[in-house]
Symmetry: C3
Subunit: 426 residues, 3 copies
């Protein structure tokens, strides 16, 4: 395949300004202030730890930003090959005038200072978005987020619901719920009502999606109020539940969320397959892994029960992509959603993108989201995706199917941006 | 890799006239009469539905063919990217003089009429086969098919057995069995005898394979007549069976089929991994999906018990291909059989073909079958496969292993046709 | 991608002299004496059998080497496509002056004689290693191997422990253990002590790794002496254990091995996912397959309990690679180890290598081992790997990430050799 064609198509795709449909941006502090914000991203801390750096060295309390970066840079030699470090280098080139091919113990300090100066500019947030070709960004909001003090047109609220489904057993979660809704739950019925209040609150602030991450063992089914009420009452009184009862409660809450998604016409982003705290001694956010023995058949009842709800689905295990392609091909309400976490590397993005573009209706594919915590990452992550997308469009459409470049680019633009608009209604 | 080499090799492979070893052709009405026969293929209806068209609009009772096509064409804009729509466009180009790169609401009607005129020619069936480079076609015959009124030399009978293994609990299936065999079953022994009669009937009409599709949960083992007899007696009296008893009966019937395959020297095509009616509100034939958590280890007892039976195996989940490659590499009676349904897209055909050609004896690979319901699909589907095959032969053999083109093409011809002859004895 | 670039990089990588970190070489008879030693490799016998040759013909007692080779050559026509036969042809070209593109019934005999003459040269072993670019070779030693009579600097001992973990129920294994340790075990405590003696013995002979292959069902957890003692006592008295007790004993022994690996600072090679004797009528060493429904989550307790032990991990099912990449990315003590057995074909090596090089720290990847039984196989097997590695380095680093060739080659050298030195301390 002609690399020139790939590059040319990639350049064209890069001209399109995007909406990023899933991030962890804090809208009150969206951009970074130092390289420590950037290199503190769990990808770098966990890889540095994996390559041999003790957790204590990385997470030492009271570490100042510059020292922290200096330490992490020591590990980069072991991580040079990773795509994650290429994101880092790319963003330093793009934003901070870095000309080096590597960040090393001998060149990082000047870079640190130059970056800090750049990020101290009062309009850095705007500059960064503009240079990155991003105009709107979905958030991941806690259910009790007041959603105030930021521009919800630029930073679009998204109701994240893991705590409600899996952590109602924690008193602090229940306290947050009580505070956010102004009501004390007494049982299943009032819990449902409280959740409804959250939807009302989010809805009045322009929410565009409900979202959750789910363990491989989860399998949603409808649970009646009567069935779950005794367990919820015990839970609300602070009793520890049996695993079966905990599952019952999780299913009830999850199903309730789906019902409200139907009522409030919200897409429900499902991020399927993560096991939390597999490596509890790992660094912050570097402890989760997965069991790839999971199937979308576990969601059969859900997809059938809510034909009116859109389910953009992300899968953690690469092997789940074929099921995702097939379920999206059959179920009108199942959508392919980007390349998540451990599957978010070019080797897998390319295989998965090929299959999706060959078999899923083109109006049902959300190409990519950045999943970023800081704005600076949109650029290198979307760039990585655009490279893979351009490669697939060039190979499978322009070359193999003899499409014109412009026709293939139109397809690319639809999965990059058009579908984000139509699926989430932004 | 030189695209020119791929194209050249593909052109050479296209000269070979083929036998299609698995289809759903109705030999009494093998070719289409209008584009509605073609666009009524479940790939188009299910994708149109998936992309947003209500089932009612697609399956409205009494819909005339032309209106139906007009409606489906409305969806094509959303499906343009799919390989299935490329089959449609390719066959319209090949057979109906279509010059458009897309079929749209503004050009479909002329195409519809031109196609109808072409298909009305009295020898259209022969023309279509000839232009497609296909000379013989395997069927999928119900167990009670009289197998009369067609040329069994061109349309080769294949005994499809899903109903016997999984649906004996339905009174209409039992009634069909009684009628086909002229005997009433009273228990396991007579059921076995009845099945034997089916094999005799099919054998006398040139059957070349027995075939079945199997759910991921199925695991065949030998079941004795004594063990299963009580359950079968209850079943024959119309009683509903417990899940365990239903499994026992399925296993008994399946094992009995394998025994007859041994006796009648018939290959037993296993199509492994489909869950039926996962989306019961889907369009006709667009309701089935799969659970990829399946293993060929479930067939260990079968493969060991019947060394004399050839088992050409198709797997639904792409991830099953590595097991299929490995089991075919070790078991003399396990054969790789084409690229089935949700795995039948170039992205997966290419990966799977590479692995098979690198690790499975070349006399044990059936390259492709069309699975078609209407003859017009052999051309675009085999063309798609030939493209992928040519790509793998060029990359992995001519370039990487420095084979001559003619040597690589000989390998290609063996998996395209030669093995169909030797494995099925046609 | 330019094939010339791939070739150039492959040629550079070929200049590096290697250490082979896992083989089944018998150090007392490391090289072959005739082509029968080479073609007796299970890959050829099992593939010949799979392609149709009766086991009896291959394993006829008293068969002389030349007749055996003559028979196996008859099958090569069916196996010509396989990468395994390409290994055979490549090594015959490299070592025995073979100019043919195929080994056939008409040319094999001259080759046989020429090869026998070559291998009869007194320094053939040295010549072969030198020509292959291999200087040190890890062994697979039975736990009762005296480890004497060979150069442990060239042939590095590795303690293989399958027998201890899974076959202590066999009296001959217990007898071998008693003989090797000079002690009779009376229960869990003395069994642990006996195992310690094995580690001492191996340690005093330069052992560099402990190793084991594991079935998909295995899931290690800590088992206390008290808990397991009754079962071990019954076992030592020759009683057959229940499956649960057998599992308990296996887990205890396995965990004990991990404890000694910590104490003796030995890496513990885990080869995960093989089912033994799936096809018991297969040829010698051609009976094992796998169930791909396995997850590294089964090893969570182990990885957490032994942060000080390095676990180089090989997975049998290709679909396990994504988990392996992800676990190596998170757990500091998990290492990716080569491409094992059914995954050891270029189609899978390439996909797996891409993912590893993009996401696992570069100091944690062992690129390849030959797994060979005879020295002649290092050359073609490492050549196959180098081709795949060069392709990935060229595509993903030189072309896609614009690395210089020398930078990409340094990465290649690290996974080919550097990490073998640092991980195993050789």
């Amino acid at each position: 395949m002609s690399e020139q064609l790939v590059q040319q198509m990639c350049d064209e795709l890069t001209k399109l300004v995007l909406i990023d449909p899933h991030t962890h941006i804090n809208p009150h502090s969206a951009a970074s202030r130092t390289l420590a914000d950037i290199m503190g991203y769990h990808y770098y801390t966990e890889l540095a730890h994996s390559a041999g750096m003790p957790k204590e060295r990385i997470e030492e309390p009271g570490l100042d930003p510059k020292t922290k970066v200096g330490r992490l840079v020591e590990s980069l030699g072991h991580l040079d090959n990773t795509i994650q470090v290429s994101w880092l280098v790319e963003l330093c080139r793009k934003f901070f005038g870095c000309n080096e091919e590597r960040i090393t113990t001998s060149n990082w300090e000047a870079l640190y200072d130059r970056a800090a100066a750049k990020m101290a500019e009062p309009d850095w947030e705007d500059q960064c978005l503009k240079q990155s070709g991003i105009e709107r960004v979905f958030l991941t909001n806690d259910f009790d987020d007041p959603l105030e003090g930021f521009d919800t047109n630029r930073y679009i609220p998204c109701l994240r619901t893991d705590d409600l489904v899996f952590h109602l057993g924690k008193s602090e979660v229940r306290a947050r719920l009580a505070k956010a809704t102004g009501m004390e739950c007494a049982g299943a019925t009032s819990l449902r009502r409280a959740i409804g209040k959250l939807f009302e609150h989010f809805s009045s602030h322009g929410v565009r999606a409900c979202a959750i991450s789910l363990p491989p063992s989860f399998s949603p089914v409808a649970v009646s109020v009567n069935e779950v009420d005794p367990a919820i009452k015990r839970l609300l009184q602070g009793e520890a539940l049996s695993p079966d009862d905990a599952t019952l409660v999780s299913r009830f809450v999850f199903w309730t969320l789906a019902e409200y998604c139907a009522e409030f016409r919200l897409p429900f982003d499902l991020m399927i397959g993560v096991n939390r705290r597999v490596y509890p001694e790992g660094v912050f956010q570097g402890q989760d892994l997965f069991d790839q023995r999971v199937s979308l058949i576990q969601y059969q009842a859900l997809f059938n029960a809510f034909p009116q709800v859109k389910f953009p689905i992300s899968v953690l295990a690469q092997i789940s992509n074929h099921e995702l392609v097939s379920y999206s091909w059959i179920f009108p309400n199942v959508y392919t959603n980007a390349h998540w976490w451990y599957s978010n590397i070019p080797a897998y993005i390319e295989i998965d993108t090929r299959a999706r573009l060959q078999a899923v209706p083109q109006n049902k594919q959300i190409g990519y989201y950045s999943d970023m915590y800081k704005l600076e990452f949109a650029w290198p992550k979307f760039s990585m995706y655009r490279q893979s997308l351009a490669r697939v469009l060039a190979q499978d459409f322009v070359i193999a199917r003899k499409w014109s470049e412009s026709r293939a680019l139109a397809l690319g633009r639809q999965v990059l941006r058009g579908n984000v608009e139509t699926i989430f209604g932004v």
